[in-house]
Symmetry: C2
Subunit: 157 residues, 2 copies
């Protein structure tokens, strides 16, 4: 099981955009140089955040990306679902009723599969933790990052 790099990229970009709120918008060229990432692909991933309403994008000269809401109102859950899609990692394909073992289980299969329910419980715990943390929390967690970001951004063309 693997979570795409877009999640890490998106979270770092959101935090950085939070620190640079008064410099917004920030162009994709600067963001890519900032993290040493492939510019075109990073753009594609940030577009997913824009579609999800987490970022706003401004076209034209001096355009770029910015946070669409204050960082206190963007949770990690928002970013993860925007990047990875809304589907659960575990998907029940109902193999219990596919073969010879499932015959004659009529009423039993009206109830949801116990295994799917168990996996779902675990994923809900995961989502709950993600929804409990915001971009603002991440910003607050590394105070030196804010200073470093403003310092380095001033030198970036």
């Amino acid at each position: 099981m693997h979570m795409g790099e877009g999640v890490e990229w998106g979270l770092h970009c959101c935090v950085t955009l939070g620190w640079l709120a008064d410099e917004a918008p920030v162009s994709i060229r600067k963001l890519a140089a900032w993290f040493g990432l492939p510019q075109e692909y990073l753009k594609k991933r940030l577009q997913a955040l824009t579609r999800a309403g987490i970022l706003t994008s401004a076209p034209g000269a001096r355009g770029g990306f910015a946070l669409a809401r204050p960082p206190e109102r963007i949770t990690l859950m928002d970013v993860v679902t925007a990047m990875e899609g809304p589907l659960d990692p575990f998907r029940c394909t109902e193999i219990r009723q596919r073969g010879a073992g499932g015959e004659g289980g009529g009423e039993e299969f009206a109830h949801p599969c116990g295994i799917a329910a168990a996996m779902r419980r675990a994923e809900l715990a995961w989502r709950r933790e993600l929804a409990a943390q915001t971009i603002a929390d991440l910003m607050a967690a590394s105070p030196q990052g804010a200073a470093r970001t403003r310092r380095n951004y001033a030198r970036l063309r």
Copy 2:
């Protein structure tokens, strides 16, 4: 993000093997027919459970697979890690120190990345839930399944 089908297959096989404990071992041919799954590939996945010490496999005629321990001592976490590997879904690649934005952050980068820490917290909650549930719990959760399994297994050649 996607969890392989092997997880669902493995969990269902473990539960079924728990119900059929006194018929053990069960051959891969019967298990595949039981769930309507591709026999060769299912075998490959169950071998991963065997390597992890969750199942035992007996070669030769009347051989097959069986649970290696009582179902109370097999957690969902055991099965998931055996199937998906021990790596975390989220992997921090330290992009924070890769580009122009990371310059001059010397001491700051001695501390672990706050974003990675946040994701790790969420994954720990997930793993905790998985480790809290056992195959025996799943067996108990669908009492009719036990009866159906024994009934259908008697008719299976």
